[in-house]
Symmetry: C2
Subunit: 329 residues, 2 copies
């Protein structure tokens, strides 16, 4: 089983075919960076149209069992998530609405301070806010998973502690391997995984040791080390693959509507656009390279199966249903 | 001249007539607590209708000179403000739009953390956020005054320092007089007034020493003491009069859409609604009581004139126009 727990491609039939060629059974797809509720609904509509147009390649995923169906039918199940709480605006009632529409992950912040928590780019992190505490409770209730990939350390640890259900870092790597602002200190990963949560390892070059020149061996050794540190059941892939996106999209991701000045985020004035993917991970067809790489650093096939998909499958099966029904999920 | 720099009445012809009976030349009216942009536009529309229906009583105020016109025509000039940045949502471009529509004050927070700053009810205050810094610059540019009445101490001091133009605490009292969470420590008032800003004293009972039983003398002595501490040119009235409002409105003010649980704010389970106004300040006709009270505690008529209106008039004349034109305002 192969699950990629974060992609943000410029979706097209070509990319859908690559998902099938790569035998990706499920993918968690970002459909909001700074979109408000209405704009997010437009993105759900866009996907409804794609499901209608390409029924042989993709299908909507609402629960883990949809992945079983997808595997049987040779399709990829698409699960939706938001990288910012902008779709719920200032309205806690929208948590249940977006879950009903299909959202399964929501970041409490995207780099900046939000109504809920602090982002990793703020000077200081004061933890989960008053509204944040209420929203975490509501997300727990309906089965919308808290994602802290772009949050500050303190907010992430707070969220892991406050949440009554496991949370996730869907796409990031250990800071100890590559000290990027977006990567996570061991104590932060520990707070998430020790509460039943998971981390998905990212293949976005700014998160990789050596960036675009990162070696497959280094990436896979980092995964093997993480399995030892945090547990082989607590880790997966969240590639953060931003395939075929024009650079205008990375500007939207970084600046949204919050600034009139350019903010380069993880880039710089010299390198303002999307960075080059490493040669061994260009698109979804390259998942097999990671599997081979994990084998080369000494991991067993059962361990590799867990990391490549089974762990996310189990996580999905426990965390996408309302809390009262979760035992029957 | 009489200016009340904060009212949130349940507006009606009766209340407009009381403004005239009280000889209020201008009033800063709240038109947003938690309203988003579109909802705020509806509130502008509501006022357009009132201006059309009651042209003998009220007129829109955009600049200080509109107060001169209002005085000549025996009307009250209505200036608009927001108690939360919710009307600009996550969009810095809306700062100029709401100013064009007539907004002249905007709080960066209403009790809770926002995208811009921390509110006075949050456990911690991490100061002005990344977006907050950008929005302060834009508010300075267009002439939209930063109001920190419901903000945390650190955020308020940060805003006073970061802003290149004077900021305001439109409605609050000194914490040293009455230690309410919403009242302001001397060092916070000092940060605002020493940078050219002003504070408007509130007559909302939860902000008063003795609450509904506060004496006129105590209130006026607090003003006289504040004149000595912060300067007689830096103080005015912002009554926070919430006349004729049903208790459902105070619930909206406190809870908005951010929580499914009741939050009593400055009230309590025993006293969930609006508190009783003190006997000597029931509505706009009672401004004369404050003038008499200030005289009784020994203030001179020129000082009283400043506090009752001239200071806000001068503040308006300097701070409602775009920064490049401010010298010609």
């Amino acid at each position: 089983m192969r699950i990629d727990n974060l992609q943000y491609a410029n979706w097209s039939p070509k990319v859908f075919r690559q998902l099938r060629a790569g035998e990706i059974d499920a993918v968690h797809v970002t459909i909001a960076y700074h979109e408000n509720f209405r704009e997010t609904v437009l993105n759900f509509e866009k996907w409804n149209r794609w499901f209608e147009l390409y029924p042989d390649l993709i299908m909507p995923g609402y629960h883990a069992k949809d992945i079983d169906v997808a595997r049987k039918l040779n399709k990829t199940a698409i699960f939706f998530g938001f990288q910012n709480p902008s779709p719920i605006e200032d309205d806690i009632g929208l948590v249940e609405i977006v879950h009903r529409l299909g959202a399964r992950f929501m970041q409490l912040t995207y780099n900046n301070q939000t109504l809920l928590a602090s982002g990793c780019y703020e000077r200081e992190d004061s933890g989960i806010t008053r509204m944040g505490k209420q929203v975490i409770k509501e997300m727990n209730r309906v089965g919308l998973v808290i994602d802290m990939s772009h949050s500050g350390d303190r907010s992430t640890i707070d969220a892991a502690d406050l949440s009554e259900r496991p949370i996730a870092i869907t796409h990031a790597n250990p800071y100890s391997w590559h000290p990027a602002l977006r990567n996570k200190h061991d104590r932060v990963i520990e707070a998430v995984t020790s509460n039943g949560g998971m981390i998905g390892f990212s293949l976005y070059p700014h998160h990789l040791k050596g960036k675009s020149n990162c070696t497959l061996e280094s990436f896979c050794q980092m995964i093997a080390d993480s399995a030892n540190k945090f547990g082989v059941d607590k880790i997966g892939i969240g590639s953060d693959l931003c395939q075929d996106q024009p650079d205008s999209v990375v500007e939207w991701m970084r600046v949204g509507r919050w600034s009139k000045e350019v903010d380069y985020g993880e880039g710089s004035a010299d390198l303002p656009g999307f960075p080059q993917q490493p040669s061994w991970f260009q698109d979804s067809r390259d998942f097999v390279n990671i599997e081979n790489g994990l084998s080369a650093v000494g991991m067993h096939s059962e361990e590799i199966d867990k990391i490549m998909g089974m762990n996310w499958y189990n996580f999905y099966s426990m965390n996408f249903t309302p809390s009262a029904d979760s035992e029957n999920a």
